[in-house]
């Protein structure tokens, strides 16, 4: 009984101590957040070289000179914004690629409005993306571009590479879902029976707020409670607070998703899994993954709860390329871009891989394929 009483006393004392500390931190929050914080994102210098409707094309020049001749086009998802790839100077995929000598272009999908509700996946892939690629080809006087696709952007890049393989030299995908018929991811389960027609007919474009709420619902314990508790605990660490505010700026900056794009993405991918079965059509053109014959580097996160490894890894088995690798990183969906440990290797690895397959292509002398290698399973990154 004495042991129990002692334990209980210690428990209560500890609880009261922690509560007092937590309250003290909580009271400091307004003061800290009220001061000027250095929390800007997307600060790497760039110029806008192409605009069409709501989209803009950003161009980043490598400061140390160009080491990879083929220009690199980065395609982010339609959900959230591409600023994730340039969050802060010491955590920027864009800067990592620039330091690797790549000449980087990145599509900013902008903020869809009601008038964009009729845009389909075909309009994004064979419309905007293709015109951007054509622009880069003309500007850089090159036949081909390297493509990097992030999440849904990677899915789009795979579709593009299947429909226009002659224009893509190398393809890198990161946490990109290709196989949707898995019950490993909660999102996959929820989307299966979603009445997407009802949602679209009622709302038009899918509101960014709705998507935010859905993502938070996937794991409210970690993504809401623990996250803000950690923030309050570290309120006196200005560097932590600034990084936190940067993440908040990105994570809740959610544009709406065009209605018809989302409708097809849910129906054809999540509900019928047509892409990996080579039965997905973009405006009467069938997407056949076997036509993806260029080298492919496919990253995914072992602990990704949004796009589980089961949704990403099968890409390699389905494409026609003989130079294709899976790389599994010990991180989650956005950990690839925010974890300083992963950051040290992610962009440099891509730059090295692209350099090996570059062959100094700049002339119009014809399309050359990189040397063929066997498909090798890669060790965890």
């Amino acid at each position: 009984m004495d042991g129990r009483a002692d334990s209980f006393q210690r428990l209560m004392a500890d609880f009261l101590r922690q509560s007092a500390k937590g309250l003290d931190h909580l009271l400091r929050v307004p003061g800290i957040l009220g001061r000027e914080l250095s929390a800007e994102i997307g600060e790497t210098p760039h110029e806008i070289v192409y605009t069409e409707d709501r989209i803009r094309l950003k161009h980043y020049k490598p400061p140390g000179g160009r080491k990879i001749a083929t220009p690199l086009l980065v395609v982010y998802a339609l959900i959230n914004r591409e600023t994730m790839l340039d969050l802060q100077p010491d955590r920027s995929v864009i800067q990592g690629l620039l330091q690797g000598g790549a000449d980087v272009y990145m599509i900013d999908w902008g903020r869809p409005t009601r008038k964009d509700r009729f845009l389909t996946i075909d309009d994004h892939v064979n419309g905007y993306m293709d015109r951007v690629v054509e622009f880069i080809r003309r500007r850089e006087n090159t036949n081909q571009v390297n493509l990097i696709g992030i999440c849904m952007g990677g899915t789009f890049c795979v579709m593009y590479a299947a429909l226009h393989p002659q224009k893509v030299r190398n393809l890198v995908t990161s946490v990109s879902p290709i196989h949707f018929d898995t019950d490993k991811g909660l999102l996959h389960l929820w989307m299966k029976d979603m009445d997407i027609d009802g949602l679209i007919d009622a709302w038009g474009n899918i509101p960014g707020d709705f998507l935010n709420f859905g993502f938070l619902l996937l794991n409210p314990a970690r993504l809401v409670i623990e996250k803000y508790k950690n923030f309050i605990d570290n309120i006196e660490n200005i560097s932590f607070v600034e990084n936190f505010v940067r993440m908040e700026k990105w994570i809740f900056d959610s544009p709406d998703v065009p209605a018809e794009t989302f409708r097809q993405y849910v129906k054809d991918c999540y509900q019928q899994n047509l892409l990996i079965r080579n039965r997905m059509y973009l405006n009467d053109r069938r997407v056949d993954l076997r036509r993806v014959t260029m080298p492919v580097l496919n990253f995914y996160g072992r602990y990704d709860h949004l796009v589980p490894p089961e949704a990403c890894a099968p890409l390699i088995e389905k494409i026609g390329s003989r130079d294709a690798q899976n790389v599994c990183l010990d991180t989650g969906h956005i950990g690839i871009y925010v974890s300083s440990k992963v950051q040290k290797d992610f962009a440099p690895r891509i730059a090295r891989w692209l350099t090996e397959r570059d062959q100094g292509e700049k002339s119009t002398a014809g399309r050359k394929r990189p040397p063929r290698k066997g498909k090798a399973p890669s060790p965890a990154g």
Binding site: D14, R114, G204, P220, A221
Partner: protein, 234 residues
């Protein structure tokens, strides 16, 4: 003999029997009063039951279900019954839309509350789990520390189990359906308001957007055909 000034009132014609309202103003006031009385008694009873709960209240299984069911029954039997009368007259189509909105709102409220109740189950269960863990440790005389991380883990486990259940997904899809029905009913009402104010409505703007979109596609197709006919520049 002259007739008195105040004539004997004629016998009133009998009104057709129908359940519910007395159409006169005093009759309606009496009904409102009865409605209010019932509402007040419901709230009073609910409150008495809630404060009468004992020390085990923190270990309940389903605390709000009964309260919510009683409220829903009240809404359905009393409030909706008063609102959803069959409309007649030149303004009936507007009345119909208003009825649809009221019905959709009630449906959304019910579905939303059911969904939230289900969602909070994981939190209450995790708190009960934590209580059990603390009890075990105290019984064994072991220190109880890292309560918060432990609770977060328990909450996460309970959440993920709940979110994968068919019951949760059914409640979520039902809430979404109710939300979209409410949005549609709301839009129907807004269309009338905007039309009355000579402001373009969403559906009219959508029609314009669709026309512009299709025209742009046609122009793109024509441009491509012209380019192909005259040869590619690269």
């Amino acid at each position: 003999m002259n007739k008195p000034i105040h004539e004997k009132p004629q016998a009133r014609k009998k009104k057709p029997q129908h359940t519910g309202a007395d159409d006169s103003l005093p009759g309606m006031m009496k009904e409102l009063e009865a409605l209010w009385q019932r509402f007040y008694l419901e709230q009073k009873e609910t409150f008495e039951r809630a404060v009468a709960s004992g020390a085990d209240a923190c270990c309940y299984d389903d605390p709000c279900a009964e309260v919510w069911d009683r409220w829903q029954n009240f809404v359905r039997d009393e409030m909706l019954h008063g609102f959803l009368v069959t409309p007649v007259g030149p303004l009936r189509q507007y009345h119909l839309k208003l009825n649809r909105f009221v019905e959709a709102f009630a449906g959304w409220e019910a579905a939303c509350q059911a969904f939230i109740t289900l969602m909070t189950q994981s939190m209450t269960q995790s708190l009960a789990d934590l209580q059990e863990k603390i009890r075990e440790r105290l019984s064994a005389g072991r220190p109880v520390d890292d309560l918060f991380p432990q609770w977060v883990r328990l909450f996460e486990d309970r959440s993920l189990t709940l979110f994968r259940s068919t019951e949760f997904m059914a409640a979520m899809h039902k809430a979404l359906k109710a939300k979209t029905a409410l949005a549609k009913a709301q839009e129907e009402l807004m269309e009338d308001v905007l039309k009355a104010a000579h402001i373009p409505t969403l559906s009219e703007m959508d029609d314009v957007s669709r026309d512009v979109y299709l025209l742009k596609k046609r122009v793109e197709t024509l441009e491509k055909a012209m380019k192909d006919r005259h040869g590619r520049t690269r």
